[in-house]
Subunit: 287 residues, 4 copies
């Protein structure tokens, strides 16, 4: 197939992380002429697209969503789309979308008022997780083991002015041995999965909280299949899918999906070049 | 047609306004057995629906979206759906969706950083509107006529911690003679349109800001057709569509869409029973 | 002594609680002609005082401080003064002032950055209290027993935009058997003390959190003496002084001081008419 | 007089600006052995002082106040004291303190509720200034010329969650030809005054907003005398005093006082070595 010289990819950023540098190199290597668009510096018109495909990478979830929406209105094909970034970034929209697609998730209750949240939290016999719908890197994901912690979480959350922070997603605490699984999906294919193991002083396995990453040998097929279906439910071109494997259970549960994922730690642990894989799939979109 | 006794509508609220009372009466009159579900009091499981159809009426936009999403996951048919409420409630998602459907909107620029916003605002020769993507009743919709006001808006917006409040939608100020038009669409039909006229001490025509409402006689067909297409673009079962008619121009522009609209003032000005019309269309959904 | 008719007391409020009603009656009974000044309705000029003495009662700490400051500039004698309300209302200013007066307080560390707070919290072997400098009714006063709770408190506190909420006062947890003591001081005299006993599902003894109040029989003299000295250190005309009695210890510690105290529960438990006692002392100030 | 080797100054910072570097050098040159104490890194005990005198320089007003308070409780002599930093940093406390000392200030009204603020703003015939009590570098100081701007300011301010941001100081706009005067006082002596001239696109003269600084030749004595009295009213060891000279008027008004002032621009315009002058006065305090 003949190639024209005009295929240009817009790399949309706010802060440039190692991931964005890797993507720039991988796109350049495929002659996709990446152009940086920094949404903190350039206002976005809704009537133009400075390339054919836009790779949406702002760290700020809302900046990513709005940049994608504006560029889509201007005619860009956005990867991921504003819809996918929004529905992956908001944990209630993710959970409910996955459920409507028949995918297994952690059973959850939504409480929208401090009294309703306290009622749920104080009635639990076992530890539960309480988290707001918006938030990255495990931030404010709280393990509630007793009534003191329950009140502490509810009182503090009320003091946060963002409306969404005052919404509570309350879930059974799944004992996974302080581990979780993260699989990478690109264009309907699974690149592989890793295990994230929480540090000694932390129950959450997020890398930002000190979790370490190990490649996952066995049982990857089933996990990969689930991750592909999860990414599909959110119409994501690519995604990192977090999965929980309850201790002693035979089934797994989808926990969260990231539509603008970091992948440095995954790449280091597995040797898989995520940036290159993504750039190649973007390249194929031009055909 | 035969009716079964099982058709139940859940009326989902946080605060009960006159609109919700009217809806309760209209639903009851049609034997639709409305049950109040107050999301400030009752935590929402995602696995059950306490009726077949849920009419989503919380005043808080995020509570409305999340209630609809949770109930949809539990099997409810939600009116409006979480998607429609979210995409109508967020002004950037509305604008870009309408544009992608080829509908006429006010030309807009999105600025995501104070410097980018100032750059846009200070380069304008004519007055512009600056508004955040989330917000009701005209709140924080600012008319920027000079550099002093531009800086005032940007500095204040930065001090608001909600991420979305710091995003700027900047639009040419459309001189409509301090009026706008609001049309009501239910199930693909247009109930009619009204004119909202700003009070003497206010340029915004919102009723919450003192605007008064008058029935609109002529030219309703064209406006109605546009409103129906706008509601369709957002997949809204019903919606109030705000339309701007620039002075001296022959075309009109869609300004905003409300997916959980108030309708007391519309009903009073036109004599049209919105609650009853909506309840009847909900009734038909059971067939 | 002769009395003139001109002695007028301004009762400054934002919300009217039972305490303010009692004060109004007690002031009226002494012919002090209370005039209500609602700071939510009336802007305050700094050049006038609508009475001779102003009794400062807004629930909002900052409204109380600023109302007192404005009225003092206008020539009012304010009870309490802006200084006393501010230095009582801010827990760091209270603690450090009491310490400089040689009074016994709970040993405290101030951390001004999340990393510094975590460092202190994670190095503790015993439970500690973490609280922000501003806040009433025990709100956000957190009992930190383990590293999970430590991180939860620090992460949530960071998400609160008010600068002061992100400052941490970290104190050894004093085991008092879930009780504390509250003494009332008016014009250098101690009206008495009560014991506040936490509810079964709460470790904090605040009445707003369900604590019940009992009169305190023995050992009141020593407590009263301490409370009088504490009120004096803050130059408060009247104050409620909260005191902790560590289990098994012979000494007591001053915990907090309230410069706009509620006293309904104290009055009910002791039969002491606080409003009348305060009104009488205000009356004496006119001589 | 004999000198011991033990005289040590603690330089308390959060962020290190050019001013703090200059102070470090000037203190070192006088053999005062400055030790940096970064309050973002080091938790503060209230029972110890790591030197004899602490020079309080955090950019964050509350960090400065609380650091000074904690160190004072530990036995430090703080320059400036927690009291001076707090009463200079809070514009209502400054204004009312200056008024009680009989010093000339801009006439001001305090509004504590949006309705009260709107009532004041909408009743003005001439332009007014609206500013919150806390804030540096002219931020959110708004020039309100019409009812549209009035509503804009009130609506935005309400959306800011910090209680103090929702308090309005409303003042007659003083036409100074877009200039103000800043005098530097150290230990009861006036180092000199400068004129700050607003940039072409800004009415506020703050250096952070592009204002340029020029030395002030004539009439400095009277200004200096006023500045000394203002610093004295706030018990400040040193301070920058901002003064307004209304066009065509013979008298001047004190506008604001800064208790942790920046002085790079002053130093450059006048050639006066502020850091050295301050260090020398600190040195004299050891005698």
């Amino acid at each position: 197939m003949e190639m024209t010289g005009s295929r240009e990819v817009v790399l949309v950023v706010d802060v440039v992380r190692p991931e964005e540098k890797m993507l720039w190199h991988s796109l350049s290597a495929l002659n996709l002429k990446p152009k940086i668009l920094n949404v903190n510096q350039v206002p976005l018109k809704m009537t133009e697209c400075p390339g054919e495909i836009a790779l949406i990478r702002p760290v700020s979830m809302f900046k990513a969503v709005y940049a994608a929406a504006a560029l889509e209105a201007g005619g860009c094909r956005c990867i991921n789309s504003s819809f996918s970034i929004l529905y992956a970034g908001d944990k209630i929209l993710s959970l409910t979308t996955l459920m409507r697609h028949g995918l297994p998730v952690v059973e959850s209750v939504i409480a929208m008022h401090p009294q309703a949240a306290l009622q749920v939290l104080l009635s639990q016999k076992k530890p539960v997780i309480d988290k707001p719908p918006i938030g990255s890197w495990g931030r404010m994901v709280s393990l509630v083991k007793d009534s003191e912690t329950a009140k502490m979480v509810v009182e503090h959350r009320e003091a946060i002015p963002a409306s969404q922070a005052r919404i509570h997603i309350i879930q059974e605490y799944i004992d996974t041995g302080r581990e979780d699984i993260r699989c990478f999906v690109v264009a309907g294919e699974c690149l592989g999965c890793v295990k994230r193991i929480a540090s000694d002083i932390e129950w959450r396995a997020n890398v930002a909280l000190g979790g370490r990453v190990e490649p996952l040998g066995e049982g990857v097929e089933e996990l990969c299949e689930l991750a592909i279906r999860a990414a599909g439910a959110l119409k994501a071109f690519y995604a990192a899918v977090d999965i929980l494997k309850p201790k002693g259970a035979s089934t797994v549960l989808i926990n969260e999906i990231n539509g603008v994922p970091e992948f440095k730690a995954f790449q280091k642990a597995t040797g898989i070049d995520v940036a290159r894989a993504l750039a190649e799939k973007v390249f194929e979109e031009f055909r």
